[in-house]
Symmetry: C2
Subunit: 301 residues, 2 copies
């Protein structure tokens, strides 16, 4: 059973949530109301040998990524960072100097994005390095954008480039798309109907938008903004791009092409279409073939 | 280097925090302002073979404890639960049925205390079970009680009983003292000047209150409410009592003794005194001896 399926299963058996929970588990962040305010919250793990590799990544890179991948969740909601909390389970031989370096990287990254670290928990154990970062955010005047809400006819857009995130170290150096998300969500014509940040790969994360929006998607190979010579298979499958993927009104965007927001290219890669029996993601290849990406069939090409 | 020292070290190098951070790292919870509201947040880890033992504890017990020990932090601030998030790194052979049971226990415990689970992250890995729970809380009309603020002359009080938390399974079955904390914090005469929940043991956690309040403490062996025949050494050193430890105005409480709030005994165990060169914790033994607990000297008796 895959992690995403497991978490979904857990959430689906959640029963009735209090009315104060305005965004239920299963989105990039959950949200809850306090009096007149709303707080959004999300948490992620960063584990040595799973998400990072202490043998080849510096502590500065690991600490930064632990925070930025959570900031990417805030971007996916078009929300504004509020504060962060961190946990670390440190290997017994990790030592104070390395702990300091790691925490300094987390703290400084959090501060850089106006998301101060306000709490945490440290354990020392016999396992590998295990970090978590929890982030809180606020709408700050812009209604959060959920994964649901995509409409038939919407254009599907992506920021930046896709694929080859690991070999290019993009997964370590990426800029969370906080400002771009708020810029496009604030302007009614471009406001995304649904949005997610790409962590599991374009095909899977577009699948998540389709499932939550009850739509299907068709994307075009020729439109994919491939990073550094990535193949289309890498662009749809690699993951950890931490780019924004969203669907928005066709009228505002016009024909497929590239627009630019705050210096970052946004590319129209496809359209939302009506779902037949269940939500699916299809790619039109340059050779005219259409391929269903829902079952990761492209991996066996 | 101990975990507490390490975390303190990390926080002390935190630099200037934004003004919106109203309770800085190092307390039971951090706090930040949003418009007119305040949100408190804390996170804790629960690791197999460190905090629990999957060989002898049920998944129901483990899932419950992962949540209740965080609720105990909310109680220590006299705050009101808002919502929770959880992470799990599951051993590869853990299986779906056990994952479901574990998450159901976390979710149901959270719901029971009006602290709905609104998000999470699941990984599957080759390590042992590693859980984190993040809790958010609100003051809900009662100013949060910090670890600092204890005054010379204050009486030192503790809820419930101390020691032998492991052999009696109290560390699994305890009730987080949420209602009691709010009851005593709401009434001006009994409102704690400083408060903490006892997780590291009475001596250490009283030491934390003294350090943050710049006071010293004297407690009396004869006053210690010992659980199930615990020795005084167990009562001051065992840890994981998850009881409230606080200092409050002497006038409201009067002579040492036991009072009762919502059916739970609260015992006056000592007094805050002026700190000489640095904060210390001393116990008056029944044989007339006075012992400095600051260096855990009692462990070598």
């Amino acid at each position: 059973m895959r992690e995403f399926d497991l978490l979904n299963h857990i959430y689906q058996s959640n029963g009735k949530l209090p009315d104060a929970v305005t965004i239920a588990p299963g989105d990039d962040m959950g949200a809850i109301r306090i009096d007149d305010d709303t707080v959004l919250a999300a948490v992620d793990q960063l584990i040595d040998q799973v998400h990072v590799d202490l043998k080849s990544h510096s502590l500065q890179q690991v600490g930064r990524k632990a925070v930025t991948r959570n900031l990417s969740d805030i971007a996916a909601m078009a929300a504004k960072p509020l504060c962060a909390l961190a946990t670390a389970a440190l290997p017994r031989d990790f030592g104070k100097a390395r702990s300091d370096e790691l925490f300094a990287a987390m703290r400084d990254t959090a501060a850089q994005y106006q998301c101060p670290l306000i709490g945490g928990d440290v354990s020392i154990w016999d396992g590998p390095l295990h970090l978590t970062v929890t982030v809180l955010a606020t709408p700050a005047g812009i209604e959060p954008v959920k994964r649901s809400g995509g409409k038939v006819g919407d254009v599907i857009c992506v920021t930046g480039q896709l694929g080859k995130s690991y070999p290019t170290d993009h997964h370590l150096n990426f800029e969370p798309r906080l400002e771009i998300a708020r810029a496009i969500a604030e302007y009614p014509a471009t406001r995304p109907h649904c949005m997610i940040d790409i962590s599991d790969g374009l095909a899977r994360d577009l699948g998540h938008l389709c499932e939550m929006s009850n739509t299907s998607a068709v994307i075009e190979q020729s439109k994919l903004p491939c990073r550094n010579g990535a193949t289309w298979q890498q662009a749809v499958g690699d993951g950890e791009d931490y780019e924004l993927l969203f669907a928005t009104d066709h009228a505002a965007i016009g024909s497929p092409g590239t627009w630019d927001v705050l210096g970052v290219p946004i590319t129209v890669i496809g359209r939302m279409i009506a779902s037949e029996d269940k939500p699916s993601v299809t790619i039109k290849l340059e050779n005219g073939q259409q391929l269903d990406l829902s079952n990761r069939g492209w991996e066996h090409q």
